[in-house]
C-alpha cells in the first residue's frame, strides 16, 4: 500500500493538482494546461512530489477533467462530475449541491446522503462557461481579475443571447449604442447565472441550505453573488474550491482502493 494520493484535474485551461494522505490535503499546485494535457499534468505532479520530498513510487495518481484520458501514467481516472461532488463533500461535509463552472463546461450536481443523485451539464454550447466570460471580458476590454470592481450590479443590461457567438455580437451592438460597460459586464454575469438557474431549477435542493461553488470562476465574488440572487440559494465557496476536482480524484481513488 502506498502512502499518498496525487489528484490531477486536467481542465481545459488550468491543470490543478493536490497531494493527499488519505485524510489531509498536504499541498496544492496549479499550472496552465497548455496544448499538451499529459505534459502539464506530469509537470504539476513533479512539482508536488519535489516540493514535498516524496518519491513517485509512494503515490497513487488519480486523474479527472478533460485531459484525463491523455494522462497515461495515472492509476485511476474518474469523471469531473463525480470528483467535484466528492471533493465538495470533503470540503463541506453535508453539502447538498455543487455548482462548478469550468473553462468549457458548467455543471450543477445534486448530492444526497453523500452520493451524487442527479446532475446537469451543459450541451455542446459554451454559454454559461468560463469561455463565455472570457469572451465577454475581452470584448469589453476588462481584465478577468477586475470584473468584481468593474461590474455595476445595481443596473445590469440584459444580454439575451445564450449562445457565445451571438452574445458577442450583442455586446458589440450594445457598445455601439453607448451602453455603459460596467452595466454590460453585470449583464454578462446575470446571463451566466441564468444558465446555471436553468440547470439547478430541475434539481431538488432545499432552500435553507447552501450550495458550494467550485472551479476557476470562484475568483469572482460578484459572480457568486449574482448566481445566489438568481437561483434563490445561498452560494458559498471555499479556499480549496479551485482544487475540488483534484481532491475528489484522491477521495475516489481511496474509496476504490478500499473496496
Amino acid at each position: 500500500m502506498k502512502k499518498y494520493f496525487a489528484g490531477i484535474d486536467s481542465g481545459s485551461t488550468m491543470c490543478k493538482s493536490v497531494l493527499f494522505d488519505g485524510e489531509t490535503i498536504l499541498d496544492i499546485n496549479t499550472v496552465k494546461t497548455g496544448w499538451n494535457p499529459k505534459l502539464s499534468s506530469a509537470e504539476s505532479l513533479g512539482v508536488l512530489l519535489e516540493r514535498n520530498n516524496i518519491s513517485k513510487n509512494d503515490v497513487y495518481v488519480s486523474t479527472t477533467g478533460y485531459g484525463r484520458e491523455a494522462v497515461d501514467f495515472a492509476d485511476y481516472s474518474f469523471t469531473e462530475i463525480t470528483c467535484h461532488a466528492y471533493g465538495g463533500i470533503y470540503l463541506i461535509p453535508n453539502i447538498q449541491g455543487i455548482i462548478d463552472i469550468g473553462g468549457q463546461d458548467s455543471k450543477v450536481i445534486e448530492i444526497k446522503n453523500g452520493k451524487v443523485v442527479n446532475f446537469f451539464m451543459n450541451d455542446k454550447c459554451a454559454a454559461g462557461t468560463g469561455r463565455f466570460l472570457s469572451m465577454a471580458s475581452e470584448t469589453l476590454d476588462i481584465d478577468l481579475k477586475d470584473i468584481d470592481a468593474f461590474s455595476d450590479l445595481s443596473d445590469p443590461v440584459s444580454i439575451n443571447s445564450m449562445c457565445t457567438v451571438f452574445a458577442e455580437s450583442e455586446i458589440i451592438g450594445l457598445l455601439a449604442m453607448q451602453s455603459d460597460r460596467s452595466k454590460i459586464m453585470a449583464g454578462v454575469l446575470y446571463s451566466i447565472a441564468k444558465k446555471i438557474q436553468q440547470q439547478s431549477s430541475k434539481l431538488d435542493f432545499s432552500e435553507d441550505m447552501p450550495l458550494l461553488m467550485t472551479g476557476g470562476l470562484t475568483i469572482s465574488k460578484a459572480l457568486i453573488d449574482t448566481i445566489a440572487t438568481t437561483i434563490g440559494h445561498e452560494v458559498i465557496t471555499h479556499k480549496y474550491a479551485l482544487h475540488a476536482g483534484a481532491i475528489g480524484a484522491c477521495i475516489c481513488a481511496n474509496k476504490q482502493l478500499r473496496k
Partner: protein, 384 residues
C-alpha cells in the same frame, strides 16, 4: 442514365449499405417496385401486399446536411436535413430507386420537408392524426390507410386482394415476433449481447428485403446467441449497468451515445426508439377487417408527435421493469421540439419510479463525442 444503373457516387459507401443497395438494384431489375418509408407509422404491410419492397430512408449521417441547408433552415432536426440531403444529392441508393415515398404528417419539420421532396420524388403523404383515443382520429387514420392502398394500387397498376394483405400481415407479424424474441434476449443478467450488437441487428434487418429469408436469418441468430449463452460464453460483464435508451430515432452517427455508455461500464439492454422496440412490440390483429387492424396497430405507436403521448410513458414504464433497468438515457436531436419538450414528462415519470435518468441533446456531428463520454461516464459512476 438508365435508372437501374449503379451511379458512381454510391461507390463511396460502406459495404453494408452497398450490399442492400445491390439487393435493391437486383429487385428493380426483376421489375419489383420500391417504396421508401420515413417513419414507424407507415403501414408497410400494404407495400408488401402489393408485391413491392419497403425500405427505411431516414438518414443518419451528416454528409449531406450542408447540401440540404442550401434549401432547409439550419436549426432543423438533422434527421430531416440529412434525409432530404440524400434525396437531392441522389446519394442514398434506396431513395434513388424508390418508385414511391410514403410520409406522414408527423412533426412539422418532416411534413414541410415532404412538400419540397415532392418536387423531386413521387411522394404520398398520409395525414396522421395527432391523438390516438378519439373516434374521429381513429376513423381518419383508417381512411388514410385505405387511401394508401388506393394510391399504391393506382401507381403500380395492381390490385391488392384480401388474401395478399392477410399474408403480408402474417409475415410481418412473424418478423415482429422474431425481432421481439431477439431483443428480449437482453432481459437476462448479464445480457448475452451488447447494445451495439443488438442495434446492428435491429437496424440491419431493415435492409433485408426477402422477408421470409430474413425471418429465417433472425431465427438462426436467436438460436446462435442462445446456444452461446447456454455454453457460458459471456460477452458482457455481470457488473455492467443496464441502460434503457429512449428518444429520437438512433442509428449511424448517433450510435456515439451507445459507444459512450458501453465504454463506461454500462450496457444498453433495450431501445425504446423507432429502431428498437417501437416497431416490433405489438402485433397486427389477424382476425377481422385487415385494414381496420392495421390502422389500429399503427395509430397506437407512442411517438412524441402524439398529444398526449401516454403510450410512450406506458412503454418506458414496462421496459424499465421487464429489462431490470438501472438507468434511462434519453437522446434527443437538436431542434426536435416534440421530443425535447416531452423530456420533462419522461423525467417526471422516472423520478416517481426512482429510476435515474439523463437526457442528452445531440446532432449528426462528432464534435461532442468527448463531452458525451464524460456525461455518460458520470451517469454510470452515479448509479454504480
Amino acid at each position: 442514365m438508365n435508372k437501374n444503373e449503379v451511379p458512381s457516387i454510391f461507390e463511396t459507401f460502406g459495404d453494408a449499405r452497398k450490399q442492400g443497395f445491390i439487393a435493391v438494384k437486383n429487385l428493380k431489375d426483376q421489375g419489383k417496385k420500391v417504396v421508401g418509408v420515413f417513419c414507424t407509422y407507415s403501414p408497410v404491410e400494404i407495400i408488401l401486399a402489393a408485391g413491392a419492397v419497403s425500405v427505411g430512408i431516414c438518414a443518419f449521417s451528416d454528409e449531406t446536411i450542408a447540401e440540404a441547408e442550401k434549401v432547409l433552415p439550419k436549426n432543423l432536426c438533422p434527421l430531416i436535413k440529412s434525409s432530404y440531403g440524400f434525396a437531392v444529392t441522389e446519394k442514398c441508393p434506396y431513395m434513388y430507386f424508390a418508385d414511391l415515398v410514403v410520409g406522414e404528417t408527423t412533426c412539422d419539420g418532416k411534413k414541410k420537408m415532404y412538400e419540397l421532396l415532392s418536387e423531386i420524388k413521387n411522394v404520398h403523404v398520409m395525414q396522421l392524426p395527432q391523438t390516438q383515443e378519439d373516434e374521429v382520429s381513429k376513423d381518419l387514420w383508417y381512411k388514410e390507410v385505405l387511401l394508401l392502398k388506393d394510391r399504391i394500387e393506382k401507381d403500380f397498376g395492381i390490385t391488392i386482394t384480401d388474401e395478399d394483405i392477410k399474408k403480408a400481415i402474417r409475415l410481418k407479424n412473424e418478423e415482429r415476433k422474431l425481432l421481439k424474441e431477439f431483443y428480449e434476449l437482453s432481459k437476462s443478467c448479464p445480457p448475452p449481447i451488447t447494445g451495439a450488437e443488438q442495434l446492428k441487428v435491429l437496424y440491419g434487418s431493415q435492409f433485408k428485403f426477402d422477408i421470409e429469408q430474413k425471418n429465417k436469418e433472425l431465427r438462426d441468430t436467436i438460436d446462435k446467441v442462445k446456444t452461446d449463452y447456454a455454453n457460458g460464453i459471456e460477452n458482457v460483464s455481470n457488473d455492467a449497468k443496464r441502460i434503457l435508451i429512449t428518444g429520437c430515432p438512433l442509428a449511424g452517427v448517433t450510435e456515439k451515445i451507445v459507444t459512450a455508455i458501453e465504454a463506461s461500464g454500462g450496457v444498453v439492454v433495450a431501445y425504446e426508439n423507432c429502431i428498437g422496440v417501437k416497431p416490433a412490440d405489438r402485433l397486427v390483429d389477424e382476425e377481422g377487417d385487415p385494414y381496420k387492424a392495421l390502422a389500429e396497430r399503427y395509430l397506437n405507436i407512442g411517438c412524441s408527435v402524439m398529444t398526449p403521448n401516454n403510450k410512450r410513458m406506458e412503454l418506458i414504464t414496462s421496459l424499465v421493469k421487464e429489462f431490470n433497468v438501472d438507468g434511462v438515457v434519453e437522446m434527443t436531436l437538436q431542434a426536435c421540439h416534440t421530443y425535447n419538450i416531452e423530456t420533462n414528462t419522461v423525467r417526471e415519470l422516472l423520478q416517481k419510479q426512482d429510476i435515474p435518468f439523463i437526457t442528452v441533446e445531440t446532432d449528426y456531428s462528432t464534435s461532442d463525442v468527448a463531452q458525451l463520454k464524460t456525461r455518460m461516464a458520470a451517469f454510470i459512476e452515479m448509479i454504480s
